[in-house]
Symmetry: C2
Subunit: 335 residues, 2 copies
């Protein structure tokens, strides 16, 4: 069996120094002679020594952990399945690691009501990144007021007293819509949920371009839940009741776009000839679907880095503010 866990004191004894010296040596403290430092570090490596993180955290009052809180819808402790959100988490993970922090994956189920108490007082993490457009506004506000280091992935334009990082959704909506018009659409349809913070901005972008082009009369809005299933159902229903009274779809997400596409294809509506479609997110499937999906790409990699950067800056006591990451149009076959 693995011999008893080596603690710092043991390592120090092996090296013939005091624990203090060993501790400092491992942390590359210049107080310790270069030579001694290296010797101890080598020794540590040789013996597969690792510091007890619990002890270290207790002493330092810092965890070197960032919690990522995935905002589940309501209290239905369902798992997330939106591939885009998972991608965001994955990119945050990378950024967190690159900064030498660890990632505690959590959700509103674990964290309960009092996020500040749970994460910060509980010394589980030094700060929190909230992912997911949730109904948890109240809890976020409370945690933020309590002084919890916090960054949210969402719509940066939202008025809030905490830092938000997200795409320029308004611009995204504009670009997508303008692209549809450039391709000749006369009767565009917005498919999504305008009440929602981020999606609402996209809708505003849509409306703005429509108004500029003087197409307000011909444009439509189809309010749906943001799932591919809902998109599929509602497009189906609409085709049955109204017929094909649109020639372009600006979808609030790729999953929604794909759901809509499926409904159209089933009814032999040609894409992009009869209807052009633009999605949002650029998930992996956008490229694989047929026809491949034109979409607004969100730079999740950059976003992950920004989120972490800003959180760390907060921890360092700096003043930080919300910011946007660029979006870009990825033109494929569906338009």
């Amino acid at each position: 069996m693995p011999q008893k866990k080596l603690k710092l004191a043991d390592l120090a004894k092996l090296a013939g120094v005091s624990t203090s010296t060993a501790s400092r040596a491992l942390n590359d403290n210049p107080l310790i002679k270069q030579e001694t430092r290296e010797r101890i570090q080598q020794l540590a490596k040789m013996h597969n020594f690792s510091l007890n993180a619990a002890a270290s955290r207790l002493r330092l009052q810092k965890t070197k952990v960032i919690a990522v809180l995935i905002n589940l819808d309501a209290e239905t402790e369902q798992s997330i399945d939106d591939p885009f959100l998972l991608k965001v988490v994955s990119d945050i993970n990378l950024a967190v690691n690159r900064q030498g922090y660890e990632l505690l994956l959590s959700n509103s189920y674990m964290a309960g009501e009092d996020w500040y108490g749970y994460f910060i007082d509980g010394r589980r993490a030094d700060g929190v990144i909230v992912v997911g457009q949730g109904k948890q506004q109240a809890r976020i506000d409370r945690a933020s007021e309590a002084g919890m280091p916090l960054v949210v992935w969402g719509d940066p334009k939202t008025e809030a007293d905490y830092v938000i990082v997200g795409s320029d959704n308004f611009l995204g909506g504009k670009v997508a819509t303008q692209h549809l018009l450039d391709k000749g659409c006369k009767k565009p349809l917005f498919l999504g949920e305008p009440e929602h913070a981020e999606l609402g901005e996209r809708y505003k972008g849509f409306s703005y371009v429509i108004a500029q082009a003087g197409l307000a009369e011909q444009a439509q809005l189809l309010k749906i839940d943001i799932t591919s299933q809902a998109a599929y159902d509602s497009i189906n229903r609409k085709l049955r009741s109204d017929g094909l009274d649109f020639d372009g779809i600006c979808a609030c997400s790729d999953m929604v776009a794909l759901g809509a596409m499926k409904a159209l294809k089933e009814r032999y509506v040609s894409i992009p000839n009869d209807v052009r479609i633009v999605g949002f997110d650029d998930i992996a499937m956008a490229d694989v679907s047929f026809p491949s999906l034109t979409t607004i790409k969100q730079d999740t990699k950059k976003a992950g880095e920004l989120l972490v950067e800003k959180l760390l800056a907060q921890l360092a006591g700096e003043e930080v503010s919300s910011s946007q990451v660029a979006i870009s149009l990825v033109e494929r076959q569906s338009s």
Copy 2:
């Protein structure tokens, strides 16, 4: 600003008892009078008190944390993007929480060479769940030998001295292939990587059914990386060079199946009339694609629960063994 963090001793003072009593009360220790217990628990809630996890872990030598290690391919610190793996992680997360544990999301980049040292000695987690068919065999073995509580998501049939949970891939391959034959395929093609543990089992299942049906001559194997892009490219290449010399595809994953489907659709090969396709995993997209994809569903929810259950059993000192979760055929339009 939030008043100074309340510690257990403070709470005790407020309640007029000793720290020991307070501690026991919060842990519902029957040594303490019921009435006192309730009083203190209420007080704790009132003051939003939470225990310092770092201190608690130090004292208990337990973390109540489970690490999930995502096996990145090689050292290319790339993020994961396979939606299926992310789904697995998400379901593990749920199961972990349900058991009152927290989830540390990690990867080979953070954990370095010596997993035992990093997670266990380092008191970062009590046990580890490894996700993802990786090349990290050596590290897994080493950690397992060192006595690290460990469960792996993979192919349960693999000979190993650690516990593996996964689908019955052999059966999955058989069911998928049989389904193709039932639908009338005469010239089936397996699309995937037979060297790979899990995928290899699926291929064996494929081969088994083929042999039984006496179709060994007509069947083919197309070895590819397990990405939709590789599938798309290789099917394209094959169509160009060999023409359409197959009438069914047994794909090793849904992403691969979708990539293949795209290539076929682009060349106006009719699905399922000319070629029938069966995928593996049942990711969200399988239902949304057009035609929707027949596939072998892996029960990730059940798998997540099993993984966690077995890990906790190990922690409790029980003897546990590998096991399989059921698979099921989800029949859709592509066949």
